[in-house]
């Protein structure tokens, strides 16, 4: 695509120089580190016997072993990741409106579609980086607290499931890019993300049978974080998930191409 490489260069520079990149890296590393701390506290309940809140939180962890710990990592990347990755998408697309720099991108020899796709690539790489940090720091924190059940085979399997869950979650973020354009900033896409999380919780709890067909429930089902009794995914589930991602991207491209850019 004409202009894609220069658009990719400029989007990379903008992302690299932003404080938001550093903040998201620190938050994801902190979250992963906190997991290790939770396991440590679960292993030493006497340290938090005076704190009901912490005792409750650590008891939610269940068994403090590696299989349980990895499931917690999948849950984080599927649920918290949706918010975190969604924020990355909303920032990359929405900042042009909140910084009012979008005008500079609209009447250029580089097609608008090249800019939209370059932003998508940068957002995807950024989210993959956060996922890698979450997995590596999380695993390192787990090793530090010395849990039972570690094996290299288990770690590889966890890496595969974690990667799949993260990628699926990233695919579901493309509608956020559309809402960043539609809402001309951050608020609408963040509102969209919160709404989606609430709707997913309610819909899947009320009618569990729809979970394999509800795009935002699919990563959790794939990872097994939804529990052993959860519905199984079929080919249609993956088609629905990919279609959601394609619809989000198509909507964003059409918005940048045809909507009035005020």
């Amino acid at each position: 695509m004409k202009g894609f490489s220069v658009a990719l260069w400029t989007e990379s520079l903008k992302a690299w120089r932003s404080i938001i990149l550093r903040i998201t890296v620190v938050i994801f590393a902190f979250m992963a580190g906190m997991m290790g701390l939770f396991v440590y506290l679960a292993q030493h309940p006497e340290l938090i016997s005076n704190s009901v809140v912490l005792s409750t939180k650590t008891s939610m962890l269940g068994k403090a072993d590696w299989p349980t710990y990895f499931i917690l990592l999948y849950q984080i990347v599927a649920m918290v990741g949706l918010i975190g990755f969604g924020f990355v998408f909303s920032w990359i697309y929405g900042r042009e409106y909140s910084d009012r720099t979008v005008k500079d991108l609209l009447a250029l020899p580089v097609p608008r579609s090249a800019i939209v796709v370059a932003k998508l690539c940068v957002a995807t790489v950024w989210c993959i980086l956060l996922s890698v940090i979450l997995f590596i720091v999380g695993t390192a924190a787990g090793k530090l607290v010395n849990m039972d059940g570690w094996s290299v085979a288990l770690a590889w399997q966890a890496c595969r499931i974690f990667s799949g869950t993260a990628l699926m979650t990233i695919v579901l973020c493309t509608p956020v890019a559309f809402f960043a354009g539609y809402g001309r900033g951050f608020l609408v896409p963040i509102g969209y993300l919160i709404s989606i999380m609430i709707i997913t919780q309610f819909a899947v709890s009320a009618i569990p049978v729809i979970a394999p067909y509800f795009p935002w429930a699919i990563p959790a089902l794939y990872s097994g974080a939804a529990g052993p009794d959860a519905a199984q995914l079929g080919a249609i589930s993956y088609i629905i998930l990919i279609s959601t991602g394609i619809l989000g991207l198509a909507g964003t491209l059409l918005w940048w191409r045809y909507a009035d850019q005020m």
Partner: protein, 307 residues
């Protein structure tokens, strides 16, 4: 001369509100077209349609003979623009902001950035983050982005905003040089009417979305009201004498007499000689020319902005 910017029945409605109503413009090569209007008159909406940022509800805009559409990216290779307040990426330096535009405009020569930095006198702010620039320097950076590729067409919305008086003169001279010596076509909107009158070769006045009048500089000169102001010791006697001679003295004001006859305005020396010979020697004689501001308000039917 070649038509560079043209609109045919250009109209934009937002719901029931008509922001721009059936505008037909034509700007020829090398012209500096001043686009004047009050806030909300439709200047920026017109400019946004000219730059493909919003789609007309009806009508068409052409640049260099090509229809303006969001998908026609080739169109922008020779167009520079600045729409409203220019904003830049706050976390990037002046150089990085310009480097981004250089690449997005496929300019192969690295030195392009240095050249425009020198031209807009941004050298001392080269490594300063855009968020730390003053309003005037942010405006200069916006102009640098518009000019970096030596465009054939410049579309500028209030480019003098935030500039100090020296900066305004500098930009005026720069634009005049581009138009006169390089044949660049400049479409410039502004509310600083006096400033526009100094260098625009044509002026269009837009009010409530409609283009009320277009005039070139010669026509503008003719359309602006001129009058001969005279003062002398015996104003009543002089008025009677001038009226006997066939001049229309539009009114005796406290300080001076005012004649609007074209003959008197074109030959004030003759009027002076007649008055001296008749024993009414003028103590003051001058031709007053309506400034662009007064002309503008007269055209839009307002008095100093109050209806």
């Amino acid at each position: 001369m070649e038509k560079i910017i043209e609109t045919n029945h250009l109209t934009k409605k937002f719901g029931k509100f008509t922001a721009v109503d059936d505008i037909n413009l034509c700007v020829r090569k090398g012209e500096i077209y001043g686009f004047l209007g009050l806030n909300g008159a439709g200047k920026t909406t017109t400019i946004r349609m000219l730059t493909g940022m919003i789609r007309p509800t009806a009508g068409t805009a052409y640049l260099n003979g090509q229809k303006v559409t969001a998908g026609n990216s080739h169109l922008w290779e020779k167009v520079g623009y600045l729409v409203e307040v220019p904003y830049s990426y706050p976390d990037l330096t002046v150089r990085e902001n310009l480097e981004i535009i250089r690449r997005l405009r496929f300019l192969p020569d690295d030195s392009t950035v240095d050249a425009i930095i020198e031209k807009l006198q941004l050298g001392q702010y080269l490594d300063r983050l855009a968020k730390n620039l003053s309003l005037g320097n942010a405006q200069r950076l916006g102009l640098a982005k518009a000019l970096i590729h030596n465009p054939d067409i410049l579309i500028l919305d209030e480019p003098a905003n935030g500039l100090d008086p020296a900066g305004i003169v500098e930009i005026r001279e720069l634009l005049r040089d581009l138009a006169l010596n390089r044949g660049v076509t400049v479409f410039i909107s502004s509310h600083i009417l006096g400033e526009i009158s100094r260098f625009a070769t044509r002026i269009g006045i837009i009010h409530e979305g409609r283009l009320l009048r277009e005039s070139d500089s010669a026509e503008l000169e003719r359309l602006r009201r001129r009058s001969l102001h005279l003062n002398m010791t015996d104003k009543d006697g002089a008025k009677s004498f001038l009226e006997e001679k066939g001049f229309s003295v539009s009114g005796v004001k406290e300080e001076f007499l005012e004649i609007t006859d074209r003959n008197a305005i074109n030959d004030p020396g003759r009027v002076n000689a007649m008055l001296v010979q008749a024993g009414f020697p003028p103590t003051m004689l001058k031709i007053e020319e309506e400034d662009l501001e007064s002309y503008f308000f007269r055209v839009i039917g307002r008095n100093g902005g109050v209806q």
